[in-house]
């Protein structure tokens, strides 16, 4: 995050070399942590590596000028979901040291699904953007533009999603309470 904020300052001065450098750092951190997360032999360590991946992604959003998305990523994924996940893991199976039962026979199927997802996303990004380049000077997207598109163009999908989330929430309460 800090790296990304520094990079954003560079961005406003159009020093693209610095920005590329910061992107490289964030990308390497994200990839290494993602690999460590999958191979880690301790649940809490895996969760903490996931946290690093998510914050690196938030940094990339800042570099791309999507400040609102970056702040949302930090608030929702780092501040809420990961805290809840850590909270749950620590309440139930907070063993220090290595766990032996974190690996099983399905890992090859998992790898296959992961590779498939990578292929689909690479193909769609390639098809969608091809040789498009980002502009040299990128101004942060004003929040007003984001809200205009959410509450204008995408109002119906937005409301549908909120209803869906509410239904999931009520469903979770109903499933959890058996009285």
């Amino acid at each position: 995050m800090t790296a990304a904020i520094l990079a954003q300052e560079a961005l406003s001065r159009t020093e693209s070399g610095v920005v590329n450098g910061f992107f490289a750092v964030l990308a390497i951190v994200a990839i290494v942590s993602a690999l460590k997360m999958v191979t880690s032999s301790n649940v809490v360590h895996a969760a903490l590596y996931l946290l690093v991946v998510l914050s690196a992604v938030a940094g990339v959003y800042v570099i791309l000028g999507a400040e609102f998305v970056a702040a949302t990523q930090v608030l929702v994924y780092l501040g809420a979901i990961m805290v809840l996940l850590l909270f749950g893991v620590m309440l139930t199976r907070a063993k220090i040291g290595t766990d032996t039962d974190l690996d099983n026979e399905q890992r090859w199927i998992g790898a296959l699904v992961g590779a498939g997802m990578l292929a689909v996303m690479t193909y769609s990004l390639w098809e969608g953007f091809g040789d498009d380049k980002l502009p040299d000077t990128m101004v942060p997207q004003p929040t007003q533009a984001v809200s205009d598109s959410i509450f204008g163009t995408y109002l119906v999908p937005f409301e549908a999603l909120s209803l869906l989330l509410l239904a999931a929430l009520i469903g979770a309460v109903v499933v959890a309470r058996r009285d």
Binding site: V44, L75, L78, G79, A80, L86, F87, M90, I96
Partner: protein
């Protein structure tokens, strides 16, 4: 749609470049120099207020409230006691519990401190004296403030001690519960100012009028008195200060998630605790007390323009004054009230503060449309 976005962008960049950016110096510094300067200033903005708070409030004010003098030996009126304390912590042995997860245990205090430093980045201290002028300023501030709980959970888990783990879990539950009133209290201010940008929020308070009377501007603690109250209570809980100090309750949990820490790492937790209190006070003064600005009738008397370069020097002093005032309130409450029970804490957040905050939002929305 693209055209209107472009126009918006243009107006946005115009407003940014219209401010006199280092116009006095008329030198464009290289990127590394400004970054280094900002880093230095961030350390100053975090450490000096933290030290001042510890001396003024933790050493002296609480002593006076308890009819004693407090530290008097080191320096005049004990003012160098802080240096002695830092020296004491720095030379202590760095102890790791035998069954601790060493890396996570060592990293946890730094995670908490990083959250503090990220928080100070969004605070504006003058029309140009800001680390970075984010369009989503207040939203980002609330987002990064929730990162400290990750460090606290790491500390609680990695210590391999029941007290630490219980303290960490209590902290997480408390911070999740009080994050919500904190965010909802700010929504009223955002509606009234019409922006998430902290500079715009200050501007709205300088140029605002209360029913056509503009001598005071419109500091939002007058019109958002409910929001101000909820914000201060939620900050007290986010900081785990006394009526809400169950995560570190001495009589129950020794020292909660900090129990196993000693020496320099304990000092880091200690600094983070006081620095975060100061930065939340900074944030509250930007949101509710008009930030770095002086009330319009004062600037009229002295003939200063509210956005002139002079405010880059006066602004930090104004901010420091407001911060000391709000930190005083935080520690006043801390040394006055007894601790809540865990269920009282949760009930207070979910059944009182959150409905009140929602009511405040509805009320603000009504007046925004009606007036």
């Amino acid at each position: 749609m693209p055209l209107s976005t472009l126009a918006l962008l243009a107006s946005f960049t115009n407003q940014v470049s219209a401010s006199p950016k280092l116009a006095l110096l008329a030198v464009e510094f290289p990127y590394w120099a400004t970054t280094l300067f900002k880093l230095l200033m961030a350390f100053i903005a975090v450490l000096i207020p933290a030290g001042g708070t510890v001396y003024l409030y933790l050493f002296k004010m609480v002593s006076f409230m308890q009819s004693r003098l407090g530290p008097m030996e080191a320096g005049p009126y004990g003012s160098l006691q802080l240096m002695a304390e830092v020296g004491k912590f720095a030379q202590k042995e760095d102890i790791f519990p035998a069954r601790a997860d060493r890396f996570v245990f060592a990293a946890a205090p730094y995670v908490v401190l990083v959250s503090t430093f990220l928080l100070v980045l969004v605070i504006p201290f003058g029309p140009d004296a800001a680390f970075a002028n984010f369009d989503v300023g207040v939203f980002l501030a609330l987002a990064v403030s929730s990162l400290s709980v990750i460090g606290i959970l790491m500390a609680g888990w990695a210590s391999a001690s029941k007290y630490s783990l219980l303290g960490g879990l209590r902290a997480a539950g408390q911070l999740i519960a009080y994050e919500l009133p904190l965010v909802l209290a700010v929504v009223g201010v955002v509606i009234q100012a019409g922006s998430l940008n902290l500079q715009r929020i200050v501007q709205a308070q300088v140029e605002g009028e209360i029913f056509g009377w503009g001598a005071l501007g419109n500091p939002f603690f007058l019109t958002q008195i409910i929001g101000f109250f909820i914000f201060l209570v939620a900050v007290q809980a986010e900081l785990a200060q006394v009526p809400f100090d169950m995560p570190v309750a001495e009589s129950e949990l020794v020292s909660g998630y900090m129990t196993e820490y000693s020496g320099f790492r304990f000092l880091l937790f200690f600094i983070a605790e006081f620095a975060t209190a100061n930065i939340f006070a900074f944030l509250a003064s930007v949101l509710f007390l008009g930030g770095w600005s002086l009330p319009p009738f004062v600037t009229d008397i002295f003939g200063i323009d509210s956005y002139s370069n002079a405010m880059n020097v006066i602004g930090p002093i104004v901010m420091a004054t407001k911060m000391l005032l709000l930190t005083f309130v935080i520690y006043w409450v801390r040394f006055t009230y007894p601790r809540f029970r865990e269920d009282q804490l949760q009930r207070f957040a979910w059944k009182f503060l959150i409905p009140l905050a929602l009511f405040n939002i509805a009320l603000t929305g009504f007046f925004k449309v009606a007036l």
